[in-house]
Symmetry: C2
């Protein structure tokens, strides 16, 4: 299966039901954990080569392509591990990572897309959003942080925004890491049991956990309203961390293969420069 | 030798002469290339642990420490390799990298420190400047991009600025990667000889190379004027890439060991949370 075919199998299409996805499954992959780790390591080489070409094209001004990976998930689903083990394998010079927190007062004074637009990747870069404007239709909806008609408005606003971003040359990869409620409980419990993990635990995590079904419903609505041709959603079963990492790497590979960046030709006279350098 | 002792040997002190530094030397290290690569890999584990603690402290709001690595060098000296192979080994969630280019019109309309101040690392982060405000007293001086009295003013302005940054809790590590003129010629020639490296070559590189002695003099002046107790310079011989990477990693280790970040204590009732989680 090519990266493109695999990406398609993870994509949210018509009739998709989040509740049909088993968080322990490994769709599109028949290997076990050891295979997954090996394939992650070998995929990294290709990812690095493609990334360097993308970066190279932009440096000499011949390309305007970029990639934007949007990561959404319940707490402890593994966003951090994706950033560290998948994105972290790529040259940091070509990566622009933004972790979106609860909006500041200044951000709240603007439209919800304002802070997001400022962090879009430049040409040649792989942008990564750890949380995103989708918080504004997820926790925003579950916690009624905005009036219902404003939440409604946001789905269309997101689609228009993302369509414009995609048209400008950015491949948008939207990922929801899907863990089970049981797996989350285990992971949060581990954070409580280990003193070196206490900093990762927040009592608010349990508050959100108590609203699990509301969140799943909010995700389902987000998928139905914003999984578009220009910016489709992908739901990645994430109870197996190794699978989630491998799958996200595959989505990045697919996007870069579609861009198919090439080493840029020299825009100077190579032989003349060799002489000039030799004489210097 | 501890990381701190090693860092001291690389530090620019009174009476320092750049011309006395052999770019092929490996001060403070008696191993060869294979040893250096092994030590780089093993140092990475400690760097990661320290970085995670630093990040953890800031997440729960108990620390305001950060690290700022400033990289300066002639073209092809290996800044990119440092970012990729040293900084790239650290969790990207805790790294804030800025590559400073020629200033934009907006940046030029402000004081030269304006754009730099905006990119200082937040508490808990390792900030990395690929080029920096020192360009304004290096190419700025060599190319007379500002009046002489403005260039003069900048040294004191830098010292005041960096002292304030250091006082706020940021460990500043200033590094000049020092390659020889011959080594630069070889590296630039390789870029010309390989089609997949052409994008890294810029005819302007040779223009700057022709001003080599002026640049070395500008660096010497920068060291004399701005190597302070709060923010000392380090000159790293860089003809051997493996040594430069190892040495910069050691400087980062030293800074983090000095900070000595600790796992933060829980600011919630761990046992009560365990019960609440178990019931959820």
């Amino acid at each position: 299966m090519t990266a493109h075919e695999w990406a398609k199998t993870l994509q949210v299409g018509d009739g998709f039901r989040l509740s049909d996805v088993d968080p322990q499954s490994t769709p599109g992959y028949s290997g076990a954990k050891a295979d997954g780790k090996r394939d992650l390591a070998s995929g990294l080489d290709e990812l690095n080569q493609l990334q360097e070409r993308l970066f190279a094209e932009s440096r000499v001004g011949v390309a305007k392509d970029s990639v934007l990976l949007i990561l959404q998930a319940m707490d402890s689903a593994g966003k951090g591990g994706i950033v560290r083990h998948v994105v972290g394998g790529v040259d940091p010079q070509g990566v622009a990572l933004t972790a979106f927190k609860a909006p500041t007062e200044e951000e709240l004074a603007h439209d919800f897309l304002w802070r997001v637009a400022k962090r879009l990747p430049e040409p040649g870069f792989i942008g990564v959003f750890d949380r995103s404007h989708y918080e504004d239709v997820l926790i925003g909806r579950v916690r009624s942080l905005a009036p219902a008609d404003e939440i409604e408005r946001r789905y269309d606003a997101i689609n228009e925004f993302e369509a414009a971003v995609a048209a400008s040359g950015t491949r948008i990869i939207k990922v929801m890491l899907h863990i089970s409620r049981d797996e989350q409980k285990e992971r949060l419990m581990e954070r409580l049991e280990r003193a070196d993990k206490h900093w990762k635990y927040n009592p608010g995590d349990v508050d959100e956990r108590l609203l699990w079904d509301d969140y799943m419903a909010a995700y389902q609505t987000a998928f139905e309203r914003t999984s578009t041709a220009a910016a489709p959603w992908h739901v990645i079963p994430a109870d197996h961390k190794w699978f989630a990492r491998l799958a996200v790497q595959e989505l990045l590979l697919d996007a870069l293969q579609q861009i198919d960046p090439q080493w840029p030709a020299a825009d100077f006279d190579v032989e003349a420069e060799k002489k000039r350098l030799a004489a210097s």
